[in-house]
Symmetry: C2
Subunit: 342 residues, 2 copies
Amino acid sequence: MRHRLKDVAELAGVSVKTVSNVVNGYIHVRPDTRARVLEAIAALDYRPNISARNLRRGRTGIIALAVPELDIPYFAELAKHVVSAAARHDWTVLIDQTNGDPEQERLVAAGIRDHMIDGLIFSPLALAGADLDAGATPLVLLGERVAHGQADHVAIDNVAAARDATGHLVGLGRRRIAAIGAQHTAEAATARLRLAGYSEALRAAGLARDEALIAPALAWHRADGAEAMRALLATGARPDAVVCFNDTLALGAMRALHDAGLRVPDDVAVAGFDDIEDGRFSMPTLTTVAPDKADLARIAVDLLAARLTATDPPPREQTVPHRLIPRESTTLSPHRDEPVGP
Amino acid sequence: MRHRLKDVAELAGVSVKTVSNVVNGYIHVRPDTRARVLEAIAALDYRPNISARNLRRGRTGIIALAVPELDIPYFAELAKHVVSAAARHDWTVLIDQTNGDPEQERLVAAGIRDHMIDGLIFSPLALAGADLDAGATPLVLLGERVAHGQADHVAIDNVAAARDATGHLVGLGRRRIAAIGAQHTAEAATARLRLAGYSEALRAAGLARDEALIAPALAWHRADGAEAMRALLATGARPDAVVCFNDTLALGAMRALHDAGLRVPDDVAVAGFDDIEDGRFSMPTLTTVAPDKADLARIAVDLLAARLTATDPPPREQTVPHRLIPRESTTLSPHRDEPVGP
DNA sequence: AACGTTGCCTACAACGTTGTAAAAAGCTAG
DNA sequence: CTAGCTTTTTACAACGTTGTAGGCAACGTT
């Protein structure tokens, strides 16, 4: 029931190679021959055997996207865009979940999929530097320049982004601005850069950076945000604004603020990063720094494409534009916050 | 730089087949031979060529998961579990996004990936019945029994689930219970069954089903939920509870209720389906019917595995357990709803 | 009429792996 | 020491595809 080029060739009365030529759109095939072949293909419902083709061609038409977890909204949204962008190159995307586990990330970087994929788009969480060099597979890294080897990088300007978010809060008159999501390991480039941008913005506004207002977060899930916010409040700190280093942290923080009886944004304004869907419908809606995710995905895929055609192109770094989207969590005016009867 | 069995064989001084035997864990290899081969493998950093192996073995070790969109939280969470479950069978998961587009779904069902995958787990949105039969690839469908062909089905008992959710609201003393998410096309089995369960619960409680309280929703995103809720309120309907047919609809509905100055749950209690992460941190947190997603994924993968080993097993149907998780959106007592100072 | 060009088609040999079948090497028991 | 085992290793032939090189017409040019 499953047919091969040979079967089609026999039915059409031509050679195997001619069928192959038709399938691959080779030009020099007489119209009537082509028609006969196409007819045979349709009659037998022939589909090329991908494995055989891959073996012969030396590529698979599959790229992998390695992310920590798919159910983190940012990565889910990113994955969606990567799949779309890859489709334009006729690539299929295979998802690798690292769970942010260093060992798992090392395996991915070392090329665990090797012969299975043509290239890899990798968003590392726990690894940086030399650990990421390695592999024979063309590699595009999402995030700051942390590796030195033959890999491209795509990211937003995190320092500027954090400066924008913090500056926005300063502009609203907030003075005791906390930060949630600091990480002090060497690998956590994103956290470091966002903290740097935050500090710069404070300095520019003539505000002192208060270490008591900087809360670390091991991971960046909602629960961590809630946790960090609660811890911060428990120290007696009374911020009038919080910059969270991503949206899920921010949503968690808002939850904790609510539980503590504090109003957002009246008592505490909250801003995040990533512009995930949830933040557009949360209560209040969440002010955020939005990276152009579609652009990010497109650039990553295109870089990979370039890396596949050219031989050993120099590592490139691309910055993706971002913009601040003010929403209720920083801008809602107090009088609208009270429920009014229907 | 990329080595083959042949290279390893030469280095180890054995035949190609012996190396292959070692790689595949064949038992009858003398320990010292095995050691020599393993050494050579390590020295050359040999990795099997997957395409060649696939060609020879006739399978790829890849299964596809076809879902509407990855950035819908339910599908993202599901994908995560499927990837994990598949890993236990040494399968890699490839993601197909259909965007809920009938044409795209037809292609997927017809086996667009055919030779590339060993099996397919498919969550159709727009298609049902004969459209889904087809394909030579083993198929497991997520959702109600809508196809007649050789496919397995995995789903929760949607009628019972909707009955539970509605019954919970009835039990809290609500009497004007609305439903959001109705769909009247033939394909929308899930919506139909949930509506049926809703009706049953009302009947059981001696409440009349009021068509004015039933709001359709074309899609089940947050925006659709908000939209439907607004439309419902605009008709002058004054429900004291809403059953939304999934969590994103519910989150959107809560947003619309908030905008209309109505309090959740004081004025309107809200329940959803799916138990997505967002609902555990939203304000208020969302009462929901939780399917066991890990179980669902595991069962789907196992069914596929069975379908791959046995020849043409009869189509099977599995029901996955669900449970109602009451949260603030239905249970929060009024006095706690008012903010208290820090 | 002989010659190169071009267009169309084909035979053959890979790509790297594993199943089959059979040879070689080791054993055990007579 | 050999017959009859079992264990270990091997050669060979696929799997289905495409690149290479070449053949044969049909054409236009000298």
